[in-house]
């Protein structure tokens, strides 16, 4: 399951990058996407439709502005064709009206809870507190980005995720901030769990040739059932 999640979420990330969205918008879209499939099976709505819909909604909530529909569709087409042709052999099949309809379903399913709290802001605060270290911030920020591909954002509050990512960054950069971490008034066990989740993802990446395996995975996925033919 995690594998499929990885591939799907990569669509959101790639779309977001092509649309030049801020990471925060992408992060929010990712959480919508995950929340939807935490409650519904993958066949309820085609993830290929839900992904751009999540981006469309998140950009409004995060006050990035309304993304032009035509630009969104064009980007979907380009991205699917150029970056994900190994997974999707067909052209991107959806149009604006599909996304707008899907948006209402998404809203209903999220029960209109749209504000998502992200680890980025607490991370900035924490790094500032350590004593501003550019390298540390950059790496920890990227780890936060990666953490979006796991389920941690559904399971832990943003400030804990931020601390978890910061810890991993410190380990990688071999920076000793143990004393500083010890001062923090947090549940260390929770932080460890978060770090484990993310490190598992890294381990997975090492051994996982996404391109080769994703076709196989996709074929195993349940597909939405079309309306009965009359």
């Amino acid at each position: 399951m995690l594998h499929i999640n990885c591939g799907r979420l990569k669509v959101i990330q790639t779309l977001g990058e092509h649309l030049k969205l801020r990471q925060q918008v992408i992060a929010t879209a990712t959480v919508y996407f995950k929340r939807f499939y935490a409650r519904n099976s993958l066949k309820c709505i085609d993830p290929l439709l839900l992904a751009p819909t999540c981006i469309f909604l998140a950009s409004k909530v995060e006050e990035f502005g309304v993304i032009s529909n035509s630009r969104l569709i064009t980007t979907c087409q380009t991205v699917i064709k150029n970056k994900f042709s190994y997974a999707y052999t067909q052209e991107f099949p959806y149009r604006t009206n599909h996304i707008l309809e899907c948006e209402f379903y998404l809203l209903e399913n999220l029960d209109c809870c749209l504000i998502v709290y992200q680890p980025y802001r607490p991370l900035l605060q924490l790094v500032q507190d350590i004593g501003h270290e550019e390298q540390l911030l950059t790496l920890a920020w990227r780890i936060v980005n990666d953490s979006l591909r796991t389920d941690v954002s559904l399971l832990y509050p943003p400030y804990q995720i931020a601390i978890g990512c910061l810890q991993i960054a410190c380990v990688i950069l071999q920076k000793d901030h143990k004393a500083w971490f010890a001062e923090l008034n947090v549940d260390i066990e929770k932080i460890q769990e978060i770090a484990r989740y993310i490190i598992n993802l890294f381990e997975l990446w090492k051994t996982y040739d996404e391109k080769k395996e994703i076709q196989g995975l996709l074929s195993k996925m349940p597909k939405p059932k079309p309306a009965p033919q009359r």
Binding site: C44, I45, F104, Y156, P224, A227
Partner: protein
């Protein structure tokens, strides 16, 4: 192809579970408000066991506009006795309309002040409890303090957006409404001014906004509260200004500044040191002569309106209406002011149990055609992005404000397409983020999963 997008069973199941607004409420012919971005109806539940009234706001246009999105996203998280409660959202799939269900508030400060003005003109006194203005102000501050401590700026405070509950439930309770412009400010992705070039109605706009301030702040809401307080005390909009020809997207507005200086006097540099840094400061120096305002001061203005400069009310007003945003009092400090410790003390029911002298809301008829077409013209195409160069024109339309102090119209725009900017460095303490969700929010049909989600989210 499209038949593949959604699972048939899922679609059918969602459709059967979906409740339609027209199935639950009678509201036809009961329109009570027509705003820039919606129509508001008084709704009665069809199920006779619930005899309360509700307000139903149908959002202008179709689909989920940026401002609808904001209002829903924020109100879904907020719960405070002085902030209007969003009970539920209806999404009407057929006509793609969005409906918001609120508690019904019989009164608002625009109607209340209008009533007092008319009474004053006819020399007929209105019988209201002595502490009413104080209670109103206290509850406005309380609601804004809640918003501000949850990192939400209202940005459109004016009398029409301050509602007051009628006989029942919550008799005489202030409800801050209309969050269509509100925004969370702990995570600004781009300077706020870029998104909504023209926000607060000019009469309630803080001087720093008129001088081109790039960022909205708590202090801007506080200025607006000061304006409302003055208006409650005198029944006149303190910075009343004709505004027929607002032609540019420029925030700088000569006549409005002139009006402010005519009441307050021209700001001394020692009173507002950073005024030099305001983008429009050079224009200010070019357009205005200090000597024209030497005889102007808030003391004199309020004295003309029979508010004594040595009263506690005046002292608090002066702190709310400080020109320098950095010196302006915060909502928290204002609530501690001696004014509120002095008799009569503020009451939860602003009418303090006395009979309510104000008329109930009337239903609007549809004959006000010009206003409707006005609305149509102003309304932004919901799902369409607005290319940058169109903005100026759109803002022009917002200039048609009537001098009759009608709840002013303004354009609510969806922002231009942005591009990624700098990470905002103004981080907030984690403890404050944690505070955000202390109260569980009340919302209909909160499923188990939803509840869990709330806790997890933060």
């Amino acid at each position: 192809m499209s038949s593949l997008m959604m699972d048939y069973e899922f679609k059918m199941k969602t459709q059967t579970e979906r409740v339609k607004v027209e199935d639950l409420f009678d509201y036809e012919g009961c329109k009570i408000g027509r705003g820039t971005y919606g129509h508001v109806y008084k709704g009665r539940p069809k199920d006779g066991s619930d005899t309360r009234d509700y307000a139903l706001k149908q959002i202008e246009g179709t689909g989920l506009s940026m401002s609808a999105c904001r209002e829903i996203a924020l109100l879904r998280e907020l719960k405070h006795p002085n902030v209007i409660n969003l009970i539920r959202v209806f999404l009407s799939h057929n006509d793609r309309k969005v409906w918001l269900l609120f508690d019904f508030a019989e009164h608002d400060l625009w109607h209340i002040i209008k009533f007092h003005r008319a009474a004053k003109a006819n020399k007929k006194p209105v019988m209201v409890p002595k502490g009413m203005v104080k209670s109103l102000l206290y509850q406005i501050l309380d609601g804004i303090h809640y918003l501000h401590s949850n990192w939400v700026l209202h940005r459109d405070l004016k009398p029409a957006n301050i509602l007051v509950m009628g006989e029942r439930p919550e008799r005489g309770r202030v409800k801050i409404a209309d969050m269509g412009f509100a925004r969370l400010f702990n995570a600004p992705l781009k300077p706020l001014a870029d998104l909504d070039p023209v926000v607060v109605t000019f009469w309630y706009r803080a001087p720093e906004l008129l001088l081109g301030a790039r960022h909205y702040t708590k202090a801007i809401d506080i200025w607006a509260i000061g304006c409302i307080f003055a208006e409650l005390l005198t029944s006149e909009p303190i910075f009343h200004c004709r505004q027929e020809d607002i032609k540019t997207s420029n925030p700088y507005h000569h006549d409005q500044l002139d009006r402010i200086f005519n009441v307050m006097g021209f700001p001394h540099e020692k009173d507002w040191e950073d005024i030099k840094k305001m983008p429009e400061h050079p224009t200010l120096l070019k357009d205005f002569k200090k000597s024209n305002y030497v005889n102007c001061s808030l003391v004199r203005y309020m004295d003309r309106h029979k508010i004594k400069p040595d009263s506690k009310a005046f002292h608090l007003l002066q702190k709310l209406l400080l020109m320098d945003p950095n010196k302006r009092i915060t909502s928290e400090q204002a609530m501690q002011d001696p004014y509120f410790q002095e008799d009569p003390l503020p009451t939860q029911d602003v009418f303090a149990g006395c009979p309510i002298p104000y008329p109930k809301r009337e239903f609007l008829t549809d004959d006000d055609q010009e206003e409707k077409s006005d609305n149509k013209r102003q309304n932004q195409q919901q799902q369409q992005p607005q290319p940058q160069q169109q903005q100026g024109q759109q803002q022009q339309q917002q200039g048609n404000q009537q001098d009759n102090h009608n709840p002013a119209k303004r354009v609510r725009m969806s922002g231009p397409q942005g591009h990624p900017g700098q990470v905002n460095q103004q981080a907030i303490p984690i403890s404050q983020q944690q505070d955000f969700h202390q109260q569980p929010i009340m919302y209909n049909n909160g499923s188990q999963q939803q509840q869990q989600n709330f806790q997890q989210r933060f």
